[in-house]
Subunit: 486 residues, 3 copies
């Protein structure tokens, strides 16, 4: 665990304490192991309770509500928990901090479905309107509750349940919205709840179908645990922020995302994105190598593949788990100071902007696509591409803005032969569920303008009962669900 | 106390602990009760000590120094304490955080007088110049100490005492100003102290008179306690800020304020303002109803009248204690995100600005006066007016700027038939004390320009001994006290 | 200790506890004594260990690594520690917070040398490139490591040692740079380490020589301890910031600084600067008086000479320890509010800017050189000069910007007959070491432009072996060391 460096050794198990306040930095290896221990202990407890319930109530599925979207709930490894519940369920509340709430919702839903290995899951809690535990708790706009509900269904949920039925007059949650507000039944919220309930029946045939994903994003709670230990190169590098940013860039390209464990089989995906996976086992590195060798397209963001499962730097130059597939080594990280920006120029004259991070990248097989134009790393590669076997592997060594990520993903999508969806406006979300009962296209219009979504086939819109041919009209703020013929 | 919501019950008194650190939010009802318990316990202790002193030293008044202006001293209910002391005394120090110190001083003095039920009180501590415990401790400007002293007297104090006599060379308060500074008697501070002392005699006839107020502002420490518990709709809504802002708007209209308990008799006031009284008993609500019914004008700011004395939401739509008198219901609160602004337009085309808060107001008798022009609540009422009995009740559902409050209060003052004081410049403060010994007009000039204050009658200026007829000259930074003839 | 002010007394030593959390402010005198106690206890422990080592290993010098540049290591009095070690050694890491790292390096090296009473010392730790414990840890630029190393040598170090030899794969310091990085020997860092090592031999003759200083800056850890206790006039006044700012202003005038204890013999220096020495003994005050009386030039910044060694205000007007030599008293401090600025005008029409602090200064012999143009102190002196004996004493009562400090120091340097170095560009550092083996001029070019440094004599550049006459060329980013003939 790294204790031998400064002459510290453990002579026995009884010398091992939980992490404590230390006069200087603690041992990161021990802290990581303690996180694993805490997660495993809680999970063991859940399994024991589940087994009792199974014995006493055979045939009744047992679950516990996950909270995949909240980084404060990152202390459990949902990959492992997903294997223990009979049905994956999730609580989701809009994070009202100014970011696009529907993108976070889509990400949470995709992550929950991925934890369920793609099987249908259930939204166990969301809210009819505002909550009461965030710094600022705005209400939901008219129609937003139904739109939120169906957006979860589009990404695999078999329903949309609410906390809470009737707003409590007392206690800590009395300002949390509910199906029946303090204001009673003569309220917009109540009317919208009733309206949503009455539309559910028309969607019955969707049950059991599965959401179709276009690309995979690697995800690993254990890597977040390791990454967020003390004494990292920059306090401004937040791996969760990178995961969010890459997800948002993929969302804005109208691509549906599966999240995948780094050691999972990736062969089904034309494109795999690794936002910032600091901890990556040798097996995961080999998995990605094999994936690219066999024709996959890989995009890796900086500070990935650095340490193994013991938080030990992989032997040799960074990024140990990935340097062969990326065709490069990183001599040094060079984080930027607060608010510093760095320019990055492409061969076509395009200019992107990075911040937070830069690196001294030495290509060892990779070609340089974008180059640092200023800063300490001026003249060094910022974005590289490596032809490897039948595929290609991209690497980006700085924190690009949304515009930069889009440019990078556009190039990678070309490699992966994923055609752009120029026919869809921004914030019009299109997702498909498919299964024995048919193929269902969800079109969710998050904008204030009516729009039309093109269809590859004829079909029937389930909420209105109207036929759709070639396209379906989706009013501002509305959702349409087309069951495609065939 | 709201414990039944999540299945928690108390089986006996011995299960009740003081509020503790909890893994998630605590029980607000219990926390509120604990605040009452702590206040009552301290008060009991004071009363016990007072009674001993009364027995040992009959006829000597007993007091303890209040700190009405400091929100960190809000843990006691001064309404209750005011009834226990023989003489209400207050400590006041200028809050040097960039806000107008003389407005805070006036507010503290008005509040202290109100705690004394309008009877004369005593300024037990203030400072000759800077203090040493605020983040930044500027000196007082020349003349400011005398101006501060007499501003307290104008609002009911029978004197102006200082902490500390001689600046201590050692300990924690050695940089706190004093009557005799480290610099000795050859200092401006000492000379100003001597000068102030020599003027006191001329003001002797004021003793025992009472300050005349124009309007009432409702005030309740118990409501602050409840309001500031956890999990409120927005962390940016600060009820004390609203109280300060409404007070400042009234001050700038040259109105003298009495603070009143929500259940007090309000019939003497043409205008009553409720800045943000989250907790309001049913009795208080009835009190306000009766007040308006009988011809009063009421102005209520958002998030008032929401819960009862147990922090339980009043049954039915918000604001339970006030919806009849206001003629409206509030379907939902919708706090704004950090730094968001919202526009509000009036029928006359006037445009005001709000932030922090907005609401979905449904008029049920009230007329809409200003309307939200953008945001989630666009098109809904922002400011309403309800004719009720002989009076009218105004409601504002967003946080208006100073300019907006002035517009609102201007309209309400018209309803209350309070004429504007267009003849007084900003920051020229005029307050009257009256009693058996006569009527005394205090004119305090906080500006850097000499000014003249109109008088309704002839009189004698006490500090200069000069006669005043029709008006009194008040030099920049000076105070004049006119004893009106008759 | 100031306890008698509020009726607190100690009846015995067993009533004295270490400083604890208090409901309000603690006793500053006791807190200061506790800091002395903690420092003395640690020092006693070191001395005990040192004596054991001396006994067991006679003739082997014993040291412990100081960290003079880090304010978090200010809890020890290095003046006292410097007397206990056989060799003064220092750890130095660039503070990468956006300030000029080479100025902080020079300051740390000058301070270390001063702690060693001017004798040669040793840089025991620095880094080849970035560290891992600051908020942002950029790499060093090419050539920066060698430039840093020789900049320490210029200011008295006998070498430049690194933490760490080989980058550790595990534990808390795995992202701290090293001589042999994770990337191995095919890295820029390794190549620069090898190159630096090969140049060392040419500098052998410098050993044992001493750095020549131009001016003295007073420095006292005990004063920092006292200054940083609770309840000071402004939380924005940071004495360490003033020390840094004055050092930087002297650095930019190309003056080499010795730091001196306030009671040290100062007669060797034409100019002595007192940045912000809140605590100053009467002996120190007398020392400065004698220094000026005998012809020295003194520059004193505000909030100096205020308290004695017990944190008691010197009797009489501020600044008690210095009012005679400065020829003035300070009636009141008047700190500025956050972000407030104040203008200061000179007799020549020059305008400077201050913030954080202002004072009501009353000249009592001193002449006013710059005057406050606005704010509470408008019209009062901002900068004064006092002819005293054969010398002169300057006083500045506000926090001047870098430009203001330069103007002030320019005037004081004239008094001290220190000629400006107009022939040296900014950030070209020139320092001399001299001794039995000769005189060595170090020229350190921190800029991106090649430059030439004038020489008073002919000499030989040691790193290139070239002869230099009249001047030496110093390429961008490089260091040149000229052994002057004679």
């Amino acid at each position: 665990m790294g204790h031998r460096l400064l002459g510290q050794r453990y002579a026995g198990f009884d010398q091992i304490n939980p992490p404590r306040l230390t006069p200087t930095v603690g041992n990161p290896g021990q802290a990581l192991d303690h996180k694993r221990f805490a997660d495993a202990t809680m999970r063991e407890n859940f399994v024991a309770e589940r087994d009792i319930l199974h014995r006493l109530a055979p045939g009744i599925p047992v679950t516990t509500n996950f909270m995949t979207a909240l980084s404060q709930c990152d202390s459990v490894d949902y990959w492992a928990w997903g294997r223990e519940v009979d049905l994956v369920t999730n609580d989701h509340y809009l994070i009202t901090d100014g970011r696009r709430t529907h993108v976070n919702l889509a990400m949470a839903a995709d992550l929950t479905r991925s934890v369920a290995s793609g099987a249908p899951w259930l939204l166990l809690e969301h809210s009819t309107s505002g909550v009461n535990w965030q710094p600022h708790n705005p209400a939901k706009a008219p129609g937003q509750m139904a739109r939120n509900s169906l957006a979860h269904v589009a990404r695999g949920s078999e329903g949309a349940m609410f906390f809470q039925w009737r707003q409590s007059r007392r206690g800590a949650e009395k300002f949390h919205s509910s199906m029946l507000p303090h204001g009673g039944t003569d309220t917009r919220v109540w009317r919208e709840v009733v309206e949503l309930g009455s539309s559910v029946d028309s969607l019955r045939s969707i049950r059991g179908t599965r959401t179709r994903a276009d690309v995979a994003v690697l995800w690993d709670w254990q890597s977040w645990w390791a990454q967020n230990l003390q004494w990292r190169p920059s306090e401004d590098h937040d791996p969760r922020e990178r995961a969010d940013a890459f997800y948002e860039a993929l969302y804005d390209r109208h691509l549906t995302v599966d999240f995948a464990h780094p050691e999972a089989d990736l062969s089904a995906y034309p494109l795999v994105v690794v936002p910032a996976l600091y901890l990556m086992t040798e097996a995961a590195g080999n998995n990605l190598e094999e994936y690219v060798e066999n024709g996959g397209t890989l995009v890796v963001s900086y500070f990935s593949g650095i340490v193994d499962e013991h938080d030990a730097v992989h032997d040799g130059p960074y990024p140990g788990a990935l340097r062969d597939v990326l065709g490069l080594t990183v001599e040094e990280f060079s984080p930027l100071l607060k608010d510093d920006r760095i320019r990055v120029t492409g061969p076509d004259g395009s200019e992107l902007t990075g911040d937070v991070w830069s690196e001294f990248v030495v290509p060892r097989g990779a070609e340089t696509v974008w180059t640092y134009a200023d800063g300490l790393t001026a003249g060094h590669p910022a974005v590289t591409r490596h032809r490897f076997g039948e595929g290609s592997a991209w690497y980006v060594s700085t924190r690009l803005t949304a515009q930069g990520l889009d440019a990078l993903l556009g190039r990678a999508a070309d490699d992966a032969r994923i055609a752009p969806r120029a026919d869809l406006p921004r914030d019009v979300e299109v997702v498909c569920r498919t299964g024995e009962s048919g193929t269902f296209l969800f079109a969710v219009n998050h904008t204030a303008l009516d729009t039309k979504v093109p269809l590859d086939a004829h079909g029937t819109e389930l909420l209105t009962g109207e036929r759709a041919a070639g396209q379906v009209s989706v009013p501002a703020g509305a959702v349409r669900v087309v069951r495609l013929d065939g």
